[in-house]
């Protein structure tokens, strides 16, 4: 099942501004959901803007949560855990919204949203955004579909981090398809070190580390090893 997602994603290899919309469309088409939205989240867990959405309802869902400051995406980003709501209309604490989002829920139901599955896009302490899946009929995501959705969320995380490389030096950044899940512990340790020595956020530190490795044509592991061992110091720019 996971290989399936990987194969699908391989079709997306390339670059350019149309990557996020292609990713959400592919995600929406391959999973038993009605629509998908991809949003940035800021450090205070408010939506910082929609990156792409497969349809108008997904756009509205993001908009609502941005305006109200509440909803499944906000909670997913804050907790770092998926928020799965198979039956938004129900008051059941497990299946339903349980009155958690008094402003969001009636508005979302009015848009025809019956189930929401919000997946946080994170790398440990780095939180970049949320992948929001919705369905117009209630019911849980089957376990296989959830695993696929998590794989899409992994790809979306890589993509959002890639898009953050503002490319200040004009160098080509690391390809976004490099899976963050493949990174070894040492890369995450080095990210923490760089965030301190360069005085930047963890997100920027990871982006910087990837760009550094890419510019030196060396594996990220190797550069990270040098940083952790104290052989290489990354200071403020």
């Amino acid at each position: 099942m996971h290989d399936r997602v990987r194969r699908l994603l391989q079709e997306l290899i390339g670059d350019g501004p149309d990557l996020p919309p292609r990713l959400v469309d592919l995600c929406s088409d391959s999973l038993p959901v009605t629509g998908v939205g991809l949003s940035w989240m800021t450090a205070d867990d408010r939506s910082a803007g929609l990156v792409a959405a497969s349809d108008g309802v997904a756009v509205r869902l993001d908009d609502l949560q941005f305006t109200l400051g509440e909803g499944p995406c906000v909670d997913a980003s804050r907790s770092g855990r998926p928020v799965l709501v198979p039956d938004l209309a129900s008051r059941d604490p497990v299946r339903g919204s349980d009155g958690r989002w008094p402003g969001f829920t009636p508005e979302a139901l009015a848009e025809g949203v019956a189930a929401v599955f919000a997946l946080p896009l994170r790398v440990g302490g780095i939180r970049v955004g949320v992948l929001d899946l919705y369905r117009d009929v209630p019911g849980p995501l089957p376990e296989v579909a959830l695993a696929d959705a998590l794989a899409f969320a992994g790809a979306a995380t890589s993509l959002l981090l890639h898009l953050q490389v503002a490319d200040p030096d004009g160098g080509t950044p690391a390809p976004w398809t490099t899976s963050l899940a493949d990174y070894r512990a040492i890369v995450h340790q080095a990210t923490g070190i760089v965030s301190v020595t360069a005085g930047i956020s963890l997100t920027d530190a990871l982006v910087r580390l990837r760009a550094l490795a890419w510019s030196q044509r060396r594996p990220v592991d190797e550069v990270s090893g040098d940083i952790v061992a104290g052989r290489l110091r990354v200071g403020p720019t």
């Binding site: 290989d3 302490g125 512990a185 995450h188 340790q189 923490g192 301190v196 020595t197 963890l202 952790v228």
Partner: protein
């Protein structure tokens, strides 16, 4: 290993499981106890991620050379075999496994490992990971020791599914992924603390564990405080004011 000590280890593990606990901390303790109880050099737990690949979740040794032995096992190695077959691999001599694991075995031999065993973590007909044991001596684990090792792997599995199921209904793949994310957060925090306190990552980890224990906090909570609130800890695991 006396029976009395053995009983103490299981009581300690069971004790942790009935309260709220931190999964990374719990599993690190479990791998520490494996080393003590089974007299091996190091042990680690590898868990499947959402892409069906194995990731290191907890291990006794924080030295990068030994960490690498676990992390090398993305495509091949004892954990991969135990994970794919669901069968225990016991007392494999690495010099005899050079063909079987052409990348992993030479690296392990280089690191001084002579024997390895890998015990599957099974759950309701699925295999979710494996417990890996490394020995730097050429000796076999007895059938009794392997049974204890398997019990430890089973406890690790119970820990993983219990971490949140008491509080909320969750799905296994989500549970596993969240555990791996906690582990990444702890690694990032090690780096942050190491750079702030001008120490090594291994020492940074020990300081965080000491602070978590001393204050009854979850390791992940301490890691988040190090990353987000710039908590700095000294050798004793006490907060340092800027």
């Amino acid at each position: 290993m006396t029976e009395q000590r053995m009983a103490k280890v299981f009581v300690e593990l069971a004790d942790t499981l009935i309260d709220e606990f931190d999964i990374v901390d719990f599993l690190t303790m479990l791998t520490d106890r494996c080393v003590e109880v089974l007299h091996v050099e190091s042990s680690g737990l590898m868990l499947t991620d959402e892409a069906g690949r194995l990731q290191l979740l907890a291990g006794t040794s924080q030295s990068s050379r030994e960490l690498e032995l676990f992390e090398l096992q993305v495509d091949q190695g004892p954990c991969v075999d135990a994970f794919t077959t669901g069968q225990a691999l016991t007392n494999v001599r690495l010099t005899s496994a050079l063909d079987r694991w052409p990348v992993f075995a030479p690296a392990a031999v280089e690191a001084g490992v002579i024997r390895t065993s890998a015990l599957p973590m099974r759950l309701r007909g699925r295999v979710i990971g494996a417990l890996n044991l490394f020995d730097v001596h050429d000796r076999e684990l007895s059938p009794e020791a392997l049974e204890i090792g398997q019990a430890m792997a089973d406890i690790a599995t119970i820990g993983l599914i219990n971490e949140r199921s008491l509080r909320e209904k969750t799905v296994l793949s989500e549970q596993l992924q969240s555990a791996l994310q906690s582990r990444i957060l702890v690694e990032q925090a090690k780096g942050v603390l190491a750079a702030r306190a001008r120490t090594g990552v291994e020492d940074a980890f020990n300081r965080m564990r000491r602070y978590a224990r001393g204050h009854g906090l979850q390791l992940t909570v301490v890691a988040a405080a190090v990353v987000e609130e710039r908590l700095v800890l000294d050798v004793e695991g006490q907060p340092v004011r800027d």
